[in-house]
Symmetry: C2
Subunit: 225 residues, 2 copies
Amino acid sequence: MQAKTSERFTPTKRTRLKRLPKRAFYERRVIYQILDEAFICHVGFIDSDHPVVIPTAYGRSGDVLYLHGSVASRMLRALANRTPICVTVTLLDGLVLARSAFHHSMNYRSVVIFGVAAVVKSPRQKLSALRTISEHILPGRWADVRRPNKIELQQTLVLRLPLREASAKIRRGPPVDEEADYSLPVWAGEVPLSLVALKPFSDPRLRLGISVPSYIRSAKVQSFA
Amino acid sequence: MQAKTSERFTPTKRTRLKRLPKRAFYERRVIYQILDEAFICHVGFIDSDHPVVIPTAYGRSGDVLYLHGSVASRMLRALANRTPICVTVTLLDGLVLARSAFHHSMNYRSVVIFGVAAVVKSPRQKLSALRTISEHILPGRWADVRRPNKIELQQTLVLRLPLREASAKIRRGPPVDEEADYSLPVWAGEVPLSLVALKPFSDPRLRLGISVPSYIRSAKVQSFA
């Protein structure tokens, strides 16, 4: 039987929020919800003593985050080298408009993960990880498409990042102004922001008679199609 | 007279795309449009030999990017120390659904900037930079609100990052499948994604008789209010 992982990440020197501790969350449930909702992460790594930050897709299965890319990708090759990385995922939920410039803010949910990634070598595990990434982005798609063949699998580098050191930071709710400012004749409140799916475009080379599959409309973002 | 900056960033070892050079853009106009459209950036820096990536607001004025935060912020203090940083801005424009799992992709526009930030010390220049950040996020707001007072300015750290080394990476358009796959009976195309503004919430403590200002509805994202 596999050891049960704890329900909460242990805060470390790097993940403990010192300045705004009320915004910090360490529960796996909270952190995994944010990871599961976003489409992309920003991966930070060190290349020749300089920080580099690159956006990329990902997927999560249990306590592992998967990343993938071309074997020729500079980032993937750097990460495969067991270098320390930081993966950050951010959902921007709204603008927070206070009565004073100083108290303007944003509502957001973000996750910061520290760790070291390892190359997934077994073709079976690679395929499973690629399915995880695909289902993360668009549940239902994997069953519909041609699976990677042997050559495509060889051209793809898949990395697994065990989720051991992570924290979330969340701000929500209205602005918080200085008491004296609440009497100012200035509108204050929140402008919610949301990533939505618009009407799909069919590929110009789509064969006649193939309609948009239903799983696209039930995708994880609200549809304004 | 100020020297005219060139219209194009010179590609460097770090900003030149080797693998997909068709997706690379170095024109200031293209890069600045992406910077001006996004709300947040992801800042990468090195802290005790580890990469750290944090989301934050920003603003651009000419060839300078401004960042700001509390003087007590761990990130801001690290950046103020003339350490190399990487600032990445990503706009996710859509999911690209191919007939094969391998050729799935995303449409996006991203910018990667490398540089070293410096602290803006003069109160007048700090105020101007804060106005730039505010107007970047919501044009029209600055004129409406109470400006930072002397104490608030002292509590705010403002950094300027000269834009000298940057590139954009852009993917757009339909999926590109293997020739043999175009005959598969699989729907293929794009699902456009867009960040939109939803109906504003007034602060529960808003004084009676203050209506939502018109500049909120003309903000830079499409409004679904």
